[in-house]
Amino acid sequence: MKVGVIVFPGSNCDRDMHHVLTDVFNLNAEFFWHEKNLPSNIDAVVLPGGFSYGDRLRAGVIAAHSPIISDVKKLAEKGIPILGVCNGFQILVESGLLPGVLLKNESLNFMCEWTNLIVNNNTTPFTNKLKMNQKIPIPIANGEGRYFVEDDTLNQLKKNNQIVFSYENKVNGSISQIAGVCNSDGNVVGMMPHPERAAEKEINQIDHKPSSLIFESLIETVGMKN
């Protein structure tokens, strides 16, 4: 069992994600530099947050053209679980693996604060241990986190059960308060909030269990096998 954590120039949540996967959830995780290839026998891929390429042009757009993304696409087609968090979500959107775009927050400022997520789809590899409508206390930290799709796509997302998480309250102006979506097969999930910042009691004094379930869902999906 191996989880690949992809590192782009400017990724800055890669080490946090690796720590949570390995030290907290005992998963076998390995960093992959963006110029490397991903082995075909990998069991899951995480694109962590950060500022890949300094957010130049538009958040995630340059990283979406990295060599490793073609491997990510192949794995996505094979049904391998893929999670993009924050900048990782932006990269998945820019690479066309997920629908929609992420725009500048309504406040026009970077926003770092704790918020509540609501689980809208508990059938993905990252949410299967969560209950429908379960609340997840979790922090967001982004400048371009306002999810947007056109009405047609929005209806399709709703119809296909592709909205995975929404914000309990109006946070940044996201359409339908969407915080996370998946592809139509459900194996590629992107979310703006940071589960790796909320899955340990020490740093999440509200309740770290719901975010832990995101990682436990992955374990449930891929198993703990070596």
Partner: protein, 717 residues
Amino acid sequence: MSFQEHEKLHIEKNVKRELTSTELQILAAEWSEHCSYKSSKKHLRMLPTTGPNVIVEKGYDSGVLDVGDGYVVTVHIESHNHPSAVEPFGGAATGVGGVIRDILSAGTRPIALFDGLRFGNIENDAHARWLFKNAVSGIADYGNCLGIPTIGGEVEFDDCYTNYALVDVAAVGFGKKSKLIKNHANVDDLVLLIGGSTGRDGVGGSQFASDALEGEDRSAVQIPDPFIEKLIIEAILECRDENCINAMKDLGGGGLSCAISETAESLGIGIELDVKNVHLRESDLSPDEIMISESQERMLVISDPNNLSKIKQICDKFRIQCSVIGKVKEDKMMHVKNGNDTLALLPADFVARGPLVDRAKSKPEYLSQLPLNPPSETQMPLSDILLKLLSSPNIASKHWVFRQYDHEVGIRTVIKPGFDSSVLRLDNGKSLSVKIDGNPKHCYIDPRQGAIGCFEEACRNVVCTGANPIGMVDHLQFGNPEDPEIFWTFMESIEGITDFAKFLDVPCVGGKVSFYNETSDGPIKPTPLIGVLGLIETSPLLPTLPSENDVILLVGETKDELGGSEYYEYIHNFIGGIAPKVDFSESKKNMKSVLSLISKNLIKSAHDCSKGGLGIAISELCIFGKIGCNVDLPSTLSSEKILFSESHSRYILVVDRTNLDEIKSLLTDDKCSFSELGIFSGDQIIFKSNSDPILELRVDKAENNYLNSLGKIIQNG
């Protein structure tokens, strides 16, 4: 560029020839107040700098503290005042960048940032608002991109900063003791310049910062590029892990001139460099400009020639440039060449050790003219006063600021910004509590006591989280040191800080002096800023919210000390009175007792009592807990003094009634003065005097003013 008489004599005595233009430029940069500390260096030596946790190594730009189990914490503080006053976004951002590289150069990873920001009156000054807004954006843009959390700081507004800005940045690093860079060099080692290219930005920045701010010299302001900085951090740490670095220094004020001369001097070596090998942003840069450019995101690295290919490979991976610009010589000379031509050839210690000066000092006239009492009493009801104070930009929540900073990245932030002191978890199970504090209003009225007070306040804040202070950094910001009255205030501050540091046995592990903080309107108020690091052996005391019937206990004594208080200045518009004074033994006693109560797990939470006094401190707890209080004020002084005096060494303890007797008896044993003030209850903040209510305010109303005032001022102008 001009030298003073004594500097000209010093040059004549030591160099028996005409200086070249490059040499003149190098000396002007390196001997500027900013780089040479010529006014302050002699006096900084009085500060205690050693202690059981302090690790001293030559050439470190940051303080290093041993936190046990093979780990170290590094810390440094700097300011970027002049640039931020001209171009707040870029000035503040590059200020962050510079201090981070100081942490990096010890071989540690930067893990947290803190900012102390000061501006003019944002309520009526649109320019101050513009400076404030953009400085915050600049810090956010830079720190967020790097993934280094900005977890604390302070923001203050005062008319003395009109048309000016103080942007202080402190950074904390963490690493393994075994991986610290042990700065050393061997003859024929290579001198490398790693990172961003050298351009025309920041040329003459040090001299710009060593004079009063009169013009807007934009070319002296550097251009930030956090993406390059992030790549440099990762590349340097990878080089460190591969043991490729013998010595390292950040390029900051004075650019190459300063980095080369200071490295050569501190290691006792000579360095020969060729400006032709420096990678440039603009091809037509003159050699002199190359030597004094302060372009950002550059590191000077000394390495063994055998490690060059490994370093190049790592730099290639991150696509950052690495130029071999020179090599280490035995002759202790700083030798600058342009191809085969020698541009400068001077002894490194001659360059690095600028001639120091003795500044005259005299007690400022204004101090004897300050009135003792406001001319008239206010007719405003106390509840209105409290509400107004809660909305004061100096007291109101800084949520609008810190929510723009990523304060969670790195997943170490246990106590988040907005409380007394922020706390980081460390890899050895211990926790680090860090706070920076300044108080120019107190310092103006009493420079010595004010400076000690900032120090004590920072200590109190870390104590409230259960941390024992292990080190401090000071940043001393004043006007023109050539003015004896200003120099007197500097001397008072540093003497006060020294006395208290020695008394508490808390070593000074780093610091900075910034003079010439003045505009055509005059100098700023004395603004020393103190950062204190505290270590917690286990987990910190979390800011647990108070609940119904919890008891409010005040440790410490409230004195007749309204001078420089927010009450006098914001409500009465009055500058004067007697500023708070730290009673050393009371301070130590209270700190020790509060720490012992925390370690015995007897209190729910502790809150520092400072700006706005007791009235604000208790209201803040009510706002956090969304609960009222019923407090009977002691009648030793007038209610206004009890509520708003900013006396030091005071802590508000939130206590479960079941522990009350034990706490009281422990405090009595320790001979601490304390009083039981009342309880948390209901939805109103109620203060009574002799059992008669004198102030009643709904918590939700207080909360609304406290949480939203700052954002409203920014949005609505």
